[in-house]
């Protein structure tokens, strides 16, 4: 049992496994917890899950990697480059939103601050992923990103509504987690399998955090469920974002890089089409956890989103 007491003052929850805080709005609005309690739990959780990139990379038999393994590693390394600008954006946006809500809804301001604070752990954990895959890519000369590519992929995402931002990030983590897990079960190299399972597990925890913050925004009553459903629809509709680079045509953007659009299309059956059913089912669950709305298909998400859109007044025609 972990006992942490300083001057006989024990921290809340110090004797249980660290976890993602689920009912954040209720806890902060109801004065059941302070920001320091939330931040301490974030830190316990982060330390509890720490791993060493060098150890896992050393355990891989590089000579045993197949062409499909090398394809996956090269693409994963480039994709993970975009997580730093994603985290940098959340840090900045969360603080801006915290200041915006201060004095208007202090509980919501605290949620924003909790999210911005957590983003430092997200940034660090994603650094593990990026450096692991790109180290291998460079060591084996499997098309590692050159300096200009690194700079290109670090473009910081433009701002959007906070609920839409958090939901989009949860969707991105779903896409990543399932893709890593699917390939982990295909590769036969045990060291690579272990690395992929670790990275996939990290992505699942990130997804849980984004869901927790997004749910807190909806629970506050200041953010409507419509924003979360819009993003879910964006991802799971026919030709949606979960299909990424496997689509015939993807958007060319100058402002930022969406990793799922910038992968090599496929190597045999290794592509973003792996685990689509699982990605969809996790998205349905995400919608329910954030909004309380049950959905069971892309059409369901679209219908419920459009119903919420229709409840707003239409713009008058000139």
């Amino acid at each position: 049992m972990e006992q942490m007491e300083v001057n006989n003052v024990g921290r809340k929850g110090a004797n249980r496994e660290p976890s993602v805080w689920n009912n954040l709005y209720a806890s902060l609005a109801g004065s059941e917890a302070t920001l320091l309690d939330v931040i301490w739990e974030q830190h316990r959780f982060h330390e509890h899950r720490r791993w060493d990139v060098r150890e896992l990379v050393r355990s891989i038999d590089m000579s045993a990697l197949t062409a499909a393994d090398r394809f996956f590693i090269a693409n994963a390394g480039r994709a993970e480059l975009t997580t730093k600008p994603g985290a940098d954006r959340v840090t900045r946006l969360a603080d801006k939103e915290c200041r915006r809500w201060l004095g208007v809804d202090d509980s919501l301001a605290k949620i924003m601050q909790a999210c911005g604070t957590w983003s430092r752990y997200w940034n660090e954990e994603e650094a593990h992923h990026e450096t692991a895959f790109n180290f291998i890519a460079a060591a084996l000369a499997i098309n590692p990103p050159d300096d200009m590519t690194v700079i290109e992929y670090r473009k910081i995402f433009p701002d959007d509504d906070m609920l839409r931002t958090l939901t989009l990030l949860a969707c991105s983590e779903i896409n990543a987690a399932v893709t890593y897990n699917e390939y982990a079960h295909r590769t036969t190299e045990p060291g690579l399998k272990a690395l992929l399972l670790q990275v996939g597990a990290d992505e699942v925890q990130h997804m849980r955090y984004f869901i927790s913050f997004a749910k807190a925004l909806v629970d506050s009553g200041r953010y409507g469920a419509k924003g979360a459903l819009a993003i879910a629809h964006l991802f799971v509709r026919p030709g949606g974002e979960i299909y990424g680079a496997t689509r015939g045509q993807t958007a060319e953007r100058t402002t930022h890089v969406n990793w799922w659009d910038n992968l090599d299309t496929a190597h045999g059956d290794v592509s973003l089409l792996m685990g689509v059913k699982k990605k969809l089912s996790m998205t349905y669950k995400m919608v329910q956890q954030i909004t309380g709305i049950e959905v069971a298909s892309p059409e369901d998400i679209e219908d419920k989103w459009m119903d919420l859109v229709s409840s707003e007044p239409a713009v008058q025609c000139q």
Binding site: P158, D160, H233, G239, G248, W305, S310, A314, V315, C317
Partner: protein, 101 residues
């Protein structure tokens, strides 16, 4: 309820969509693309906002013609004209099915 001739549907969709995005109908015709609309609209900042404008247009079509239009993802270089035709095709197909029943 509107019985849905092509000219009526097209005009209705253009009218509603132009109101939602805050651009004149003339600014949506020809080779104007989704990307152009995002860039020029005073009401849209990104593709999610654009998607919502289409949703509001679709809801208006449902109220006017009694059919629900579903739009898949389109590349950003798709013209508005192409999307309006997609609306027309779906409305006509559903109305024809209802009449046949």
């Amino acid at each position: 309820m509107n019985t849905g001739c092509i000219a009526d549907i097209g005009a209705f969709v253009y009218e509603r969509f132009s109101a939602e995005v805050g651009l004149a109908r003339a600014d949506l015709e020809g080779q104007v693309t989704l990307a152009d609309v995002v860039h020029r609209s005073p009401r849209i900042t990104n593709s999610v906002d654009l998607m919502e404008c289409f949703a509001k247009t679709s809801n208006a079509v449902r109220r006017e013609f009694g059919v629900r239009v579903r739009l898949p993802a389109y590349p950003v270089n798709t013209t508005i004209e192409t999307l309006v035709h997609a609306f027309i095709d779906q409305v006509q197909a559903q109305l024809a099915t209802e009449r046949a029943v």
